[in-house]
Structure formats: structure tokens, C-alpha cells
């Protein structure tokens, strides 16, 4: 049995480099999913705020379903359903043969982004509702166009109000990325599983994974706290 520090070190028997690389993959898939979630979330929030009745109902359905169903099911849907769909398209439209797998990173990014988009939509909507009505009226009185009003008045305030909620969404992203390990993507948890299997020291590997996840969540928590302080400069505290 290899001692913990040697096992997680960078020597000949050390898995440190592999674990750090896997942590970078975790970060990459989380960031990609979070950004996709931002795009999806703002579109859904827009649909909820300004959409016609049918659009609003669809957007409400989206957030209800994706927040009410386990993330793991969504990942299975994209993993199995995505491959089946791509295989079918390849067969029917291009006359291709055989099974076409979807890249695991793409599955992970889509699954994380689609689910996180549902959470971010609610955060953005809450942020928009917190913008004082008078400021919008004042902007109209200055004859700002909708685009200019959005850029100058709405967006900066929504960003400020939404930031704490977005921090929570980011933490959800990070934790959901661990579930992507079921698709075989070599992220932190998958790497820990591989190491645990080949060295028969599962406790050390999962403990190291825990420590790395904690480091990522803690540092990004600081980052969000810093960003919150910055966006609140000049705002009187109640």
C-alpha cells in the first residue's frame, strides 16, 4: 500500500499529475456548461418576461421539468439519446453505417448547460424583476432605444442582482460535472475511479478527489464574493 502523499505526488508511483489534469477537465466542462447555461438561461428568462402566452407556458414547462428531474436522467438522455439520434441521422441522410458516438465532452457540456440554464433563467428573471420600474420609465423618457436601454440600464443591474444566484448555479455546475463520469469523460471523479481500480486504494483517490473539489469550490466562492463586492461599489447598504 502506497502512502497517501506518495500516491498523490508526482513521483514514479504518483498520480498527482493525472489528478490535476482531470481537475482541469472538470473545470473545463463546468465552465463550458455554465456559459451554455448562461445563454440558455437568458433566452428562457426573456421568454418568461416578455414572451407571448404560448412562449411563456413553454418556458415555464422547461424550467419546471429540468429542475424537477434528476440530473443523472438528463445525462442518460443526452448520452444514449444523442448517440442514437446522430447514428440515425448519419444512416438516413448520409447513408453512413454503424454506431456514431457523441463526444463525451459535448454530452457533458450539453447536459450541464441545459439543466443549469433552467436554474439561471430563474436567477436572471429575479434579477430583472428587481430593477426599479422608475429607471426603465426614466430611460424611456430619455428616448433610449430598447437595445440602448438594455445595455445601459437593465443589463448592469441584472448582473448585480443576479450575481449571488449565479454563484449558486456555478456550484451546481461543478457538482453536476461529477455525474458526467458515467459517460466515461476523463474528469476528476472518473480519474479517481480509474486510480482506485488500478491501485486498489479507493479511499485515497476519493479523498483526493474530495480535496480537489473543495479547493475548486472554495476558490471560486472567493471569486464570486470578490465580484459581488465589486459590483456593489457605490451602492448604499440597507
Amino acid at each position: 500500500m502506497v502512502p497517501f502523499l506518495e500516491l498523490m505526488g508526482f513521483g514514479p508511483r504518483g498520480w498527482g499529475a493525472a489528478m490535476l489534469a482531470a481537475a482541469a477537465m472538470t473545470l473545463a466542462v463546468s465552465v463550458a456548461g455554465f456559459l451554455l447555461g448562461g445563454v440558455v438561461g437568458s433566452l428562457i428568462a426573456w421568454a418568461k418576461i416578455a414572451g407571448k402566452r404560448l412562449v411563456r407556458v413553454l418556458a415555464d414547462g422547461y424550467t419546471t421539468v429540468l429542475r424537477g428531474v434528476p440530473d443523472l436522467l438528463v445525462i442518460y438522455l443526452f448520452f444514449f439519446g444523442g448517440s442514437a439520434m446522430v447514428t440515425a441521422i448519419n444512416r438516413d441522410w448520409f447513408g453512413g453505417q454503424g454506431f456514431v458516438p457523441v463526444p463525451a465532452f459535448l454530452v457533458g457540456m450539453l447536459a450541464v448547460g441545459i439543466v443549469n440554464g433552467a436554474y439561471q433563467a430563474e436567477v436572471f428573471r429575479g434579477g430583472y424583476l428587481a430593477v426599479p420600474k422608475g429607471e426603465i420609465e426614466a430611460a424611456r423618457a430619455f428616448a433610449m432605444t430598447r437595445a440602448k436601454m438594455f445595455r445601459r440600464i437593465v443589463a448592469p443591474q441584472v448582473a448585480r442582482f443576479a450575481l449571488p444566484g449565479l454563484g449558486n448555479c456555478w456550484q451546481l455546475c461543478l457538482k453536476e460535472s461529477a455525474l458526467i463520469s458515467v459517460t466515461g469523460l476523463l474528469e476528476l471523479l472518473r480519474q479517481a475511479q480509474i486510480g482506485a481500480g488500478s491501485t486498489r486504494q479507493p479511499f485515497e483517490f476519493y479523498l483526493a478527489a474530495c480535496v480537489l473539489y473543495l479547493a475548486i469550490t472554495t476558490v471560486s466562492g472567493w471569486g464570486f464574493a470578490f465580484a459581488e463586492r465589486r459590483t456593489r461599489r457605490g451602492v448604499a447598504r440597507a
Binding site: V69, L73, Y76, L77, F80, E176, L179, F203, A209
Partner: protein, 241 residues
């Protein structure tokens, strides 16, 4: 979308519902008891107790639940083999339950702590002035107010736990997601199976949401409008004429 297959999927996944409910209910119950202890430690003002509870909450909220499940299921056996705990930790059911309970305890403790901090100081002072102290003060004044404050947050946690039970499928337990995954692997009809399994979770969560709203309504009579006196008196007045 083939109705015959949807029905088949429904019948194949239905047997997983009891296990999902069992894991969610037992871990919520065990987690709640632990959470009261943790919240108490956080608020005790005793530095070592506060530090222990803070660390617990920091670790369990800062790492993915799946890592915690693996750490318990694969990592602990080395330390408990041959002890009294081994017959339990050998079973995936107990490991899943343990991981879910410890995890929800951390989240629930913070929800409860928020509830306790929201108890107005004046209420406690008034209770002390009436001669209440210790457990009686907790039971009559602090708990009812704190619990009522914490209900919306706790409702969210209950829904998260129902969803979190899906991770038990990764350590071989055949609950809703486990059966769904097996069915997808057999038939490659991911969309239909997703719709059916998702509908089960949405139904469970819908029932929980309604129940939590009902409890919240029942516990906040003081926030509702006063009843319409005339409407109450109308039958009586009708008899007068």
C-alpha cells in the same frame, strides 16, 4: 413515441418507486435529526463545537454527492472490515442511505440555522419575562417560529433529495433511475424512457411541493387576512329574519 412502449416502460419503472421513496424519506428523517444537532452546534457559541459543525457543512456542501457515495461505498470498507459496522457498510443500500443522510444534514443544518436566526429577539425576551427558559422556551417559542421560517427552504431540500436518490443507481440499487438506465441500455429508446422516468419524479416533486405549501399555509394563520366577519355571521343573520 409509441404508446405500447410507453406503457411497457411505465410498468418496468414502477417497481422502482418504493425504493426511491424509501431512500428519500429515511435519509430526510435521519438528516433532519443530525441537522438539528449541527445547527445547535453552530449556534452554541462554543468554539470547538462550532468548528466541527462548520467543517462538516463545508465538506459536505463543497463536494459532489457522488464522490461522497463512492468514498463511503468503496473507501470505508478497508477501515470497518471485521467490525460491527461491516455487515451494514457491505450493503449498497446502507451506504447510499448513509451518504444521503450525512449530505442532507449539512444542507438542512444551514436552512435551520437561518430559521433560528430569524426568531425575533423580542419574542425570546418576552418568553423569558413570562418565566420560560431552557427546553420550554425552545419548545413553545423558538422551534415553532424557526420551523415556520425554514419551511420554504426545507421544501427545496426535500425535492433535491428525491432527485439525489437517483445516484443510488450508480452503486447498483434499482430505483427509478436505475431501472430507467437498464431499460435504455436494453432498448436504446432514451427519449421515451426519459419521459416516463421524468414523469415519475415530476409527480413526486409536485406532491411534495403541494404538501409543503399546505403545511406552510397551516402554520401561518397570522399572515392571512382576517376572516370576513359578515360572511361568518350571514347564516346566523339569515335565521334572525
Amino acid at each position: 413515441m409509441d404508446p405500447a412502449f410507453i406503457l411497457e416502460a411505465f410498468l418496468r419503472i414502477l417497481p422502482g418507486v418504493p425504493l426511491t421513496l424509501q431512500l428519500a424519506a429515511l435519509s430526510l428523517a435521519a438528516g433532519f435529526v443530525l441537522a438539528i444537532m449541527l445547527a445547535g452546534m453552530r449556534l452554541s457559541g462554543i468554539a470547538p463545537l462550532n468548528a466541527i459543525a462548520w467543517t462538516w457543512i463545508f465538506v459536505f456542501r463543497g463536494t459532489p454527492l457522488l464522490v461522497q457515495v463512492f468514498l463511503i461505498y468503496y473507501g470505508l470498507p478497508r477501515f470497518v472490515r471485521g467490525t460491527w459496522a461491516w455487515p451494514y457498510l457491505r450493503e449498497p443500500w446502507w451506504c447510499a442511505l448513509l451518504a444521503l443522510s450525512l449530505n442532507t444534514a449539512a444542507y438542512t443544518a444551514e436552512i435551520l440555522r437561518g430559521g433560528f436566526l430569524a426568531v425575533p429577539r423580542g419574542q425570546i425576551e418576552a418568553a423569558r419575562a413570562c418565566g420560560m427558559s431552557g427546553f420550554r422556551l425552545l419548545r413553545r417559542i423558538v422551534f415553532p417560529i424557526a420551523i415556520r421560517q425554514a419551511i420554504p427552504g426545507y421544501g427545496n431540500e426535500m425535492i433535491l433529495m428525491v432527485k439525489a436518490t437517483s445516484l443510488a443507481s450508480i452503486i447498483t440499487l434499482m430505483e427509478i433511475t436505475g431501472l430507467a438506465q437498464k431499460l435504455i441500455a436494453e432498448t436504446f429508446r432514451a427519449i421515451e424512457v426519459f419521459v416516463v422516468a421524468g414523469a415519475f419524479y415530476l409527480f413526486l416533486n409536485f406532491v411534495i411541493t403541494r404538501a409543503v405549501l399546505a403545511v406552510e399555509f397551516w402554520l401561518s394563520p397570522h399572515l392571512r387576512d382576517a376572516p370576513d366577519r359578515e360572511a361568518i355571521l350571514r347564516p346566523a343573520l339569515a335565521n334572525v329574519h
